[in-house]
């Protein structure tokens, strides 16, 4: 498969699955709202999925370069602290954390 075909395939898959997830519930989800399992899982899943995504993206930010471990740790701490102290303003926390990481990685 050529590179362009691969990239187009990714876009089509991304569109198809995302659109289906957005559209299907309008048709079928309504009756399933009352299922206890659905309710239970909907309370349990978000935090875990987000945490897994956070750690796996942290891991890819560090990459193969051990010199990135410390900047990543500092930037993580900055993100968390700014978020908790700064009133949970996502843009502010993400901006502060990213700026910290970019600066540390490029200056050290």
């Amino acid at each position: 498969m050529s590179e362009t075909a691969y990239l187009l395939a990714v876009m089509v898959i991304g569109f198809g699955i995302t659109f289906a997830l957005r559209a299907v519930p309008f048709v079928i989800l309504q009756p399933l709202r009352d299922s206890p399992l659905v309710a239970q899982m909907s309370r349990w899943m978000p935090v875990g999925i987000l945490a897994i995504l956070a750690v796996s993206t942290l891991r890819s930010s560090i990459g193969a370069d051990l010199a990135h471990v410390l900047p990543a740790a500092v930037a993580t701490a900055v993100t968390v602290l700014v978020h908790l102290i700064g009133g949970r303003r996502t843009l502010l926390s993400v901006g502060a954390g990213t700026a910290t990481f970019v600066l540390l990685v490029n200056l050290t």
């Binding site: 991304g14 206890p36 909907s42 349990w44 978000p46 935090v47 875990g48 987000l50 945490a51 993580t76």
Partner: protein
């Protein structure tokens, strides 16, 4: 298999919202409010569009001309949309820096239109990840969208193409803004809102592409933005001790995945986490724990949205 998939489909939380911008976290707040207060949540509009459409337009505030309504929708997009542009710029820069062709940025933003998964896809595409893994990742990361149908006023839109677009552009921010003022939406206003969001996101990406191409070299470390976004969303989702067991199970699943299948850790960790949660649910039932009493509003009373 089908049944299992359906369960997974439905089991993702409304509060997950690992999406692009500040609206993501607040969307869930508005969703909860909406489902608490709105006595007449969407009555399966996909099945009975006529009936549902008749019931609503009267509730709209002083509706002006159709063009006025569209402009009102654009105006309502400003607050939530402000955050989409910088993240869009970061996304556009990442596409170029990852060595992908520039059109991947507007392509993904137009077709997929879901911030966090697009940012993830950049890395996955650059690494030529198999399409099956990409499909599973998109499915799991975007699962939360199934809950947006509950509050989104799709029933005010009647034209088939417009309905198609309204569903396609049902992002976290659109869900948040519409849920915060139920009953006031007209088709033009809704489309004004969604088209604006789409323009911010695609436009931000294009600015990023341009910026990255005029910079002398790649800005190293920019990809941390995605990690930071997930960190803040994790913090927002984890506001009571009731969330700790899930967090531990996620940690267990991820640790096992990193040790056993480091090459496909994300996929393995997400799947493993799902399996662990199903086991937890089985155990809870065996112990005779009461099932959640109010499935309509699966929110934690202890959780306070700030």
């Amino acid at each position: 298999m089908i049944a299992g998939m359906t369960e997974m489909l439905n089991s993702v939380g409304r509060r997950s919202a690992p999406d692009d911008a500040p609206g993501a976290a607040s969307c869930d707040t508005s969703l909860d409010v909406a489902s608490d207060t709105d006595p007449d949540p969407v009555l399966d509009p996909a099945v009975v569009p006529e009936a549902a459409a008749v019931a609503v337009p009267d509730a709209a505030p002083p509706a002006t001309s159709p063009r006025g309504e569209f402009v009102t929708g654009m105006r309502l997009s400003f607050a939530a949309g402000l955050g989409m542009i910088p993240i869009g710029v970061a996304f556009g820069m990442l596409v170029v820096q990852a060595g992908l062709p520039w059109w991947v940025a507007p392509g993904l933003s137009t077709l997929v239109f879901a911030g966090s998964v697009e940012l993830l896809l950049v890395g996955l595409m650059a690494a030529a990840t198999p399409l099956a893994t990409i499909a599973v990742t998109v499915l799991l990361v975007n699962l939360r969208h199934v809950f947006y149908a509950f509050s989104f006023p799709l029933h005010v839109v009647r034209h088939p193409l417009a309905r198609f677009y309204a569903v396609h552009a049902l992002i976290d921010e659109a869900c948040a803004v519409t849920a915060s003022s139920p009953g006031t939406w007209t088709a033009k206003r809704l489309l004004g809102l969604q088209v604006s969001f789409h323009a911010y996101w695609v436009g931000g990406g294009l600015i990023g592409v341009l910026l990255a191409s005029v910079l002398p070299g790649p800005v190293e470390g920019l990809e941390f933005a995605l990690c930071a976004l997930f960190l803040t969303l994790t913090l927002d989702a984890c506001r009571s001790r009731a969330q700790v067991p899930s967090l531990l199970l996620a940690g267990l699943s991820l640790s096992l995945a990193l040790v056993l299948v480091p090459g496909a850790a994300l996929f393995a960790a997400l799947t493993g986490f799902m399996v662990l949660l199903l086991l937890r649910s089985l155990l809870a039932r065996r112990r005779g724990d009461p099932a959640p009493s109010a499935p309509h509003v699966p929110s934690d009373p202890e959780v306070e949205h700030v």
